[in-house]
Symmetry: C2
Subunit: 325 residues, 2 copies
DNA sequence: TACTTTGTGTCAACCGCATGACATACAAGA
DNA sequence: TCTTGTATGTCATGCGGTTGACACAAAGTA
């Protein structure tokens, strides 16, 4: 059973292929009668226009790639869901790529763009030194990652977030606040959180200390970092974690070390994704405006696809008070 | 700057288009010299073969659709991440569709299959009455959902899960155990959990009661159901929730109603996804073997794509003891 | 009547690549 | 010398749909 094609429809309807195509694309002059005949024939044959053939001619696939470390994470999960919803409504379908633990993968997804297999790309992955990004006018938008000068970034106000969290811990009387973040070598707006933290610590005359935890580490190794943290710094009475799952690990480690949260150690997380809020509502955290970030990224991508110049966007964050810090 | 195509490469390399195609696809006889010439020309022009043109000829896109309610959920997030990882290694890219709160969407994604835009589909969405599923030999696999007789299902052993959870609550001395599940009208293997619960309750001479909670409900409305539950049944001392987020909501509602967990009410959840375990490690839950389920689904889909007949698969679940029940 | 609008057909080219058929040329081996 | 293998080229066709150019006829309008 070979695929039904335009020809078959045309033959059954007793019209020319061109006419069927006209009906399909609503071009030129058409009588109600032929329109009906054609529709009837399409129905009878259960005709579906071949999308790939159309894509070849149109030079667009209406597919957008999303490349993030992993969708199995409250923040990226929510972000990608929000992105998909919005892109769907604009007529785009979404190709999902999880680049975590596979350095080549991000570049592979980038190739889809050069292949013509996708029209645009939204990236939040953080593999460094991918040459192909350094091209002007690529229809790419990044979220919370700096990939190249030519690519606009959507970010929440990380500096503000760093200040909010640190200030709250200071106000609560914490003397020895430790921060966790990505390795400083990684170019991400995330580092601004660290800057906020460090500036405030300096201003208050406190010693600043950041433990670096790579995002791609397996959970048990991340947990080990926190165990080490409390072993090396038993005086620590405040933790500003760079994301909510790390905050959770910090709390686990603190309790394991015989400390009460928040009495002995206060912990503040980061992200405030919906499923984290649901599962761990007591966590004090800095919430990123995930729906707005998704919207901004989609807006930028649309403009980019239309060939317009765009600027990076920064959105405000919000402190959500909880019981942990 | 029009796209570089085969012709351009051929011209620069001083060979015929056919020869370039031969190099690209490694067909026929080729001298090292021409291979080098061609590669050099491709490099110089930064040539990328057009994927869509290839797809049109090959009649395949190496794209697989994933349609689930939402990726913004610990269970589906992990599942889709596992699926993507495995499919990627087989050379497939993944199109993600979140069908929650949009009944037409699932069918739209199904159309991609008939369009020729994707080669196969893995579905876990639960919109009912989609005609197009009732077609034989479609390259579709479903996970934890019954969509039609012809489509193989990958499921965890829900009956076993229902029994494990109920038995644990009974053993702990609970007298009034309430279960939550999807509406009974929804055809999903999920209903087997209910069967396990009900059979055991009957066997022990207890009254069985299931509160029906649609998955698509917003969280606050789900929470309201649990508030109602404790209002209507203050005697309730055990909850077997059909997923972990509902378990969390049950715990919240219980505490709001002045009950201690687990002293007054014991709560057991379902799913045991990795991020849930991380954020809420104290929750007692029935864990589904998500990686194995993903693997099974991919295996089935591969066979299906190869035109082989396949059988549904059921995998065992595991009780993870925690502090809540 | 002459002109315009409407409705449909034919034909060809194109989107970019793959491939089969066939021809040609040169080398090595029987 | 005749075959066989190696190395390319030309040509045409197909994948399925879109589009422009052009022709032609019928109906409406000036």
């Amino acid at each position: 059973m070979a695929r039904v094609k335009l020809q078959d429809v045309a033959k059954l309807a007793g019209v020319s292929v061109t006419t069927v195509s006209r009906v399909l694309n609503n071009r030129g002059y058409l009588s109600k009668q032929t329109i009906n005949k054609v529709h009837q024939a399409m129905e009878e044959l259960n005709y579906r226009p071949n999308a790939v053939a159309r894509q070849l001619y149109k030079q667009r696939t209406d597919l957008v790639g999303l490349v993030f470390p992993t969708v199995n994470n409250p923040f990226f999960g929510q972000l990608e869901a929000e992105l998909e919803t919005r892109l769907y409504e604009l007529g785009y379908r979404v190709v999902m790529g999880n680049s975590q633990n596979n350095p080549g993968k991000e570049e592979q997804y980038l190739q889809l763009l050069f292949n013509g297999q996708i029209d645009g790309l939204i990236v939040g992955a953080h593999n460094e030194g991918i040459e192909a990004y350094h091209n002007t006018n690529l229809p790419i938008v990044s979220i919370e990652r700096i990939v190249s000068k030519q690519i606009p970034v959507v970010a929440a106000d990380n500096y503000q977030g760093g200040c909010l969290a640190t200030q709250r811990l200071l106000d609560a009387g914490c003397q020895h606040i430790i921060h966790t973040n990505y390795p400083a070598t990684l170019a991400t707006p995330n580092q601004e959180r660290r800057r906020g933290y460090e500036e405030l610590m300096t201003k208050y005359g406190r010693e600043k200390l950041t433990y670096e935890i790579s995002f791609d580490l397996p959970d048990d190794q991340k947990a080990a970092v926190f165990d080490r943290l409390f072993a090396e710094h038993p005086e620590c009475d405040g933790i500003f974690a760079d994301n909510d799952t790390n905050a959770r690990l910090a709390i686990n480690a603190a309790q394991k070390a015989g400390k009460r949260v928040p009495e002995d150690v206060k912990v503040i997380g980061y992200d405030g994704a919906s499923s984290t809020r649901l599962l761990f509502p007591d966590l004090t955290t800095i919430q990123q405006p995930i729906p707005e970030m998704a919207q901004a990224a989609v807006d930028l991508l649309q403009k980019r696809l239309a060939g317009q110049a765009v600027e990076s966007v920064t959105l405000p964050v919000k402190l959500i008070p909880g019981l942990t810090g």
